[in-house]
Amino acid sequence: MNTSVNIAGVTLNNPVMTASGTFGSGMEYSQFVDLSRLGAVVTKGVAIVPWEGNPVPRIAETASGMLNAIGLQNPGLDTFIERDIPFLQKYDTKIIVNVCGHTTKEYVTAVERLNEQPVDLLEINISCPNVKKGGITFGKDPKAVEKITSTLKEVSKIPLIMKLSPNCADISEMAKAAESGGADAISLINTLTGMKIDINKRTFALANKTGGLSGPAIKPVALRMVYEAAHSVNIPVIGMGGISSAEDAIEFILAGATAVSIGTANFMNPNVTIEVIEGIEKYLKENNINDISDIRGIVE
């Protein structure tokens, strides 16, 4: 049985990776999960210098989901390169670094520095809804997506995954824009912008007022968008959004995803990534499927 998948020439042992921002750089979850079992670890977004992020509260639970407005707090590339990359190198997994920036120049500088690092893929965050500069401002329309993609492709020696936002009019157009900009793969969906109000305090639940909705509540939306994106482009699609079981992951693969990311579900169960990997293996075995690519996108 073959569960390996290929993304831009990089072979992952299985299609299960972590979703950026939910798993740190793997250090904390390595107490629960053997990181070598994962197809890849996608790190928390990192910028050229440390970012403070937003005021608290940054987290609010909603029905079958949660809102977050972390604001891309990160320790900056110096610390990340010195501490987090060597940590991940100890494991037999692929390293995917999520990159964020306030300006095009900051993205370019970050990519140039990471060119010299032992990382397998870069995921470019052009979809964070919780920062005033950067994030979604680079991903809000197809032209902006194509421009930042082509700019970063010119400087990057590492294959690029562009991470797309669901907060758009037409996800197919966004996917095509990333592809025509030269993206090696796309990942989606980032969180949906949402809000919660505390009726007793009569204030917003999050200090940032709005936050990104994630968790099982968004899965049907994510699945639909992954299906639409996968049918619009020829580059691999990494599907995510509310995946918390092997069944969920298989739905995304049937819809056309080459790989899947587990995000918020890590908070629901620190072992979930391993359970999803084992569940996919069981499904393939029970259904006599020899290669996971045999079921990719077969639901037309």
Binding site: G24, G53, V56, R58, A63, G65, Q73, T264, P270
Partner: protein, 257 residues
């Protein structure tokens, strides 16, 4: 980093101490063996529409029985679900989380306010030095009797029906309580006042505060639960510390509240 475990715990017994305040003993596999005062557990709901674990402080540890006691306020749907668990039921838990109270051989003033009182019980029980215990309530008392065997207990109530009328600092002043170190857990206004008191020129004693904030992962990955810190934090590289990991107990002078 202390070992953390994701386990299925078994409810030993549960009772209501006051309307809306429950005490639940759970049997763990390994958590109780390594847990210490001031740490907390993540409790997971069975209802999958409530996706985030509830961080609840450890009230008591019984290592011989591998048991942990949690005293918590029933404040929302998640804690309401926990309050309906009976002897023999199971619950998924992760722990022990956070750093706990650092134990110093000194005369301690142990202060708890409201639902910040439970984590002080295990500290009062295990703290080796002399101790004065100051407990602040809005009205009705809970756990106060259980503290009595571990030190001199002083009560403050907002209404004044028991002990000092006012807050825990009013009780400290009224009873002329002094010590070399403060440990405190309670609502943010109380902790701010204690920080100011402990750091004032005339008092100037070491003070450890247990903080809380909305959390998602509880283990330091998501960066949801931050407190502002005086100095740049080694992990985050900014003036933010993770309450779940570098805390929940902080030296008062390290944090900006």
């Amino acid at each position: 980093m202390t070992e953390k475990y994701y386990e299925t715990a078994i409810i030993i017994r549960q009772e209501e101490l006051l309307p809306g305040i429950n005490s639940m003993w759970i049997k763990t596999d390994k958590i109780a063996e390594v847990a210490k005062a001031g740490q907390f557990l993540n409790l997971y709901c069975k209802d999958k529409s409530r996706i985030l674990p509830r961080p609840i402080s450890i009230c008591e540890i019984d290592k011989s029985d591998m048991a942990i006691r949690l005293v918590y306020r029933v404040i929302g749907e998640g804690t309401d679900e926990f309050s309906k668990l009976h002897t023999g039921d199971t619950i998924k838990v992760t722990g022990p989380l956070g750093n706990g109270f650092p134990i110093k051989q000194k005369h301690a003033i142990i202060i708890g306010g409201g639902i910040g009182i439970p984590p002080m019980l295990e500290l009062a029980k295990t703290f080796p030095g002399e101790k004065d215990i100051v407990l602040g309530y809005s009205n009705e008392l809970f756990l106060d009797g259980e503290f009595e065997k571990y030190g001199n207990v002083h009560i403050a109530t907002v209404s004044g029906i028991y002990g000092t009328k006012g807050n825990v600092l009013d009780s400290i002043k009224e009873n002329a309580i002094s010590g070399d170190i403060i440990y405190a857990c309670g609502p943010m206004p109380m902790l701010k006042a204690i920080k100011e008191y402990a750091e004032s020129e005339e008092i100037n004693i070491q003070c450890w505060l247990s903080l809380e904030e909305r959390m998602a992962c509880g283990i330091g990955a998501c960066l949801g639960c931050m407190t502002k810190s005086k100095n740049k934090d080694a992990h985050t590289q900014v003036n933010n510390k993770r309450i779940c990991t570098e805390g929940p107990v902080f030296l008062s002078k390290e944090v900006v509240m």
